[in-house]
Symmetry: C2
Subunit: 374 residues, 2 copies
């Protein structure tokens, strides 16, 4: 009998696990938020992932539970553990992805390089941190942020007065050093419960308004020291936090050649979408292997370079009508459409091109994605 993986959340990450599951003969089930979720083809249940009864019922139908996102509440996860459900990653690891202050604290214990940081509850805390770090900082809500949400670049305590006044009892605001970086990188790693790890090449990620818009694999001129530092950091975190499945570590490469940890995601991640068309094993297949504790696949690239460009929704951008145009002009482009309703700025698809000439690969990937833009 095939092994059954259940995914909580019906977004594009769950959607992109479906092809990998079909190929490997793994039965995949998705607990989706709505009938028209991106992963609707795999949906076996529709309901609220915060409702413990809904999640318990779903979990009872599968052999292992994993996630499209990190938002399942801790009390729901605890109940599943009490029921004997296998969760991968486990709640002890997910806690660090859900709470950025817990994450910073744990990374500090592990000796992982990261920006200076502190916790703040008052305006005086913020002012003090700003004074220490050159008058500027990055303020983050400890929980719930993604794609630039819950993040502000600040130069005065006034700019987070609303967040401070809204803090509940025991809640803290995270303040981080505002890093002058040369570029942003991401290191993806997969880890099985039995301990095996596998890493893809470190990639460069390009953000626009806080949202990832482009990924270049491998990161140009990263061979050697940069790749080694990124890999070492990712292995330290995956093992130190006991992550199972895919972990994405978002990194800053600073102007003074340090590699610092920015964010973590304990699931397949936008920075790894290129692996579907550019690596022997995609992050989605690897995630399924890892959460089932199956041996991990090879992570070599299938060409010298791969470039992924996101397609973001806009008010008048129809995906289907542009598909033929993109295919006509770019027969080498691998086009991915997530089946999501269009909203401005929402990630609705991506394009990957792999090849041996980076200039050509970048031009083709941007060109193909451009067909979906106004």
């Amino acid at each position: 009998m095939a092994q059954r993986v259940g995914v909580i959340g019906g977004g594009q990450l769950a959607r992109m696990m479906i092809p990998a599951a079909v190929n490997l003969g793994i039965d995949i089930s998705v607990l989706a938020e709505s009938d028209d979720s991106s992963a609707r083809l795999g949906a076996t249940a529709v309901g609220d992932y915060r409702d413990v009864a809904v999640v318990r019922e779903f979990a009872s139908t599968v052999d292992v539970v994993t996630f499209d996102h990190e938002h399942v509440p801790a009390d729901v996860l605890s109940q599943l553990v009490n029921d004997g459900v296998t969760l991968r990653p486990g709640p002890h690891a997910l806690a660090f992805a859900q709470d950025k202050i817990a994450m910073r604290r744990r990374l500090g214990e592990l000796g992982v390089p990261m920006p200076g940081w502190t916790m703040a509850t008052t305006s005086a805390d913020v002012t003090s941190f700003l004074a220490e770090y050159g008058g500027r900082a990055v303020a983050k809500t400890a929980r719930g942020g993604y794609d630039g949400k819950g993040v502000r670049m600040i130069t005065s305590a006034d700019e987070v007065a609303d967040w401070l006044s809204a803090l509940a009892e025991g809640e803290l605001l995270l303040l981080e050093e505002w890093i002058s970086f040369r570029r942003e990188l991401a290191q993806q790693i997969a880890r099985r419960p039995s301990g095996e790890v596998a890493l893809w090449p470190v990639v460069e990620t390009i953000q626009t308004n806080g949202v990832c818009t482009e990924v270049i694999a491998p990161a140009p001129l990263s061979a050697g020291k940069v790749a080694d530092m990124a890999a070492h950091i990712a292995v330290t975190i995956a093992e130190g936090l006991d992550v199972t499945g895919v972990l994405a570590v978002e990194l800053f490469e600073t102007l003074d050649d340090r590699i610092l940890v920015n964010e973590l995601a304990m699931r397949p991640h936008n920075s790894g979408h290129w692996t579907i068309d550019g690596s022997t094993t995609s992050q989605f297949e690897q995630h399924l292997r890892a959460v089932l504790d199956l041996p991990l696949g090879a992570t070599e690239m299938t060409a010298d370079h791969a470039v992924m460009v996101n397609v973001l929704g806009g008010p008048s951008r129809g995906m289907t009508s542009r598909l033929g145009q993109a295919m006509e002009r770019h027969p080498n482009a691998k086009i991915h459409v997530y089946g999501k309703v269009f909203r401005a700025g929402r990630k609705v698809g991506h394009v990957t091109v792999a090849g041996d000439d980076l200039d050509s690969v970048v031009a083709q990937a941007r060109g193909a994605a451009g067909n979906f833009q106004d």
Copy 2:
């Protein structure tokens, strides 16, 4: 709104269309034979493809209908055409895939090289053909054969006495020249209604007991004349028979260096499974593009060589228990499991390895597939 493709038949070919549809954002629906079909994840209806009411109802839910197999009866196809359903390939093309005598006749009109052949209804017809072709021949039922079924290698009319006596009014037996071949090849081609065609490299196929067991892409030492002849034949047939979607042309390479057409399949085909992991565009994605009349994707190989080895079911062969072992030993192997009940000799999965050293690729592919054998 996404375009909706309906597939009649729930076998592994329909199953392998699902990942391609998910990636492209195409809605795929499958009319399956049973609840536990290989393509059950995409099944929106379960019923008999020979039942015109079942098929009409299914066709009404999609924009274009295509096929997992070529067995839908002509009267059912006619009714769909009368209903205004878009069928790709169309009934006029499918007729040649369904009736091997009609196919031979049409290929003769097109001047395509093929073995000598005749139609037989009597023992005397058979004896006469055997005398003309050196005392041996290949006898085939005109309809319904696949994977070696409905095919006999004969040296006397007695060996088909049962088939001759069972012929219905108007039915004919096909007799073909028994070819001394160096090897078997297959040429896959995709064609859109608007006329565009795309070809993958010609491959070598290895049959065991009439069932394809291994495919080597490209066929060794085929560059140049062999590839040119195979491509010319495939284009002639695709255009001459007005095929839309993927067409596989099975070929003999004779000891005297001719290329002759053996069989046709008007759908994705076992000889093209390697394209999932070894070509920029897989046969399944290309089939979807073609039947939707979207521009065809690039068919370059992603490595110098790709080798596919089928996994056949056996009495005591469990797939899942062997999966971990195959993954452990062969991290480069792309393992495909069809979710089918095991029966001896049944195709239940395949393994592909792509790489730049053919000896290594063959060894890895055979090694990985070997983990599923007793």
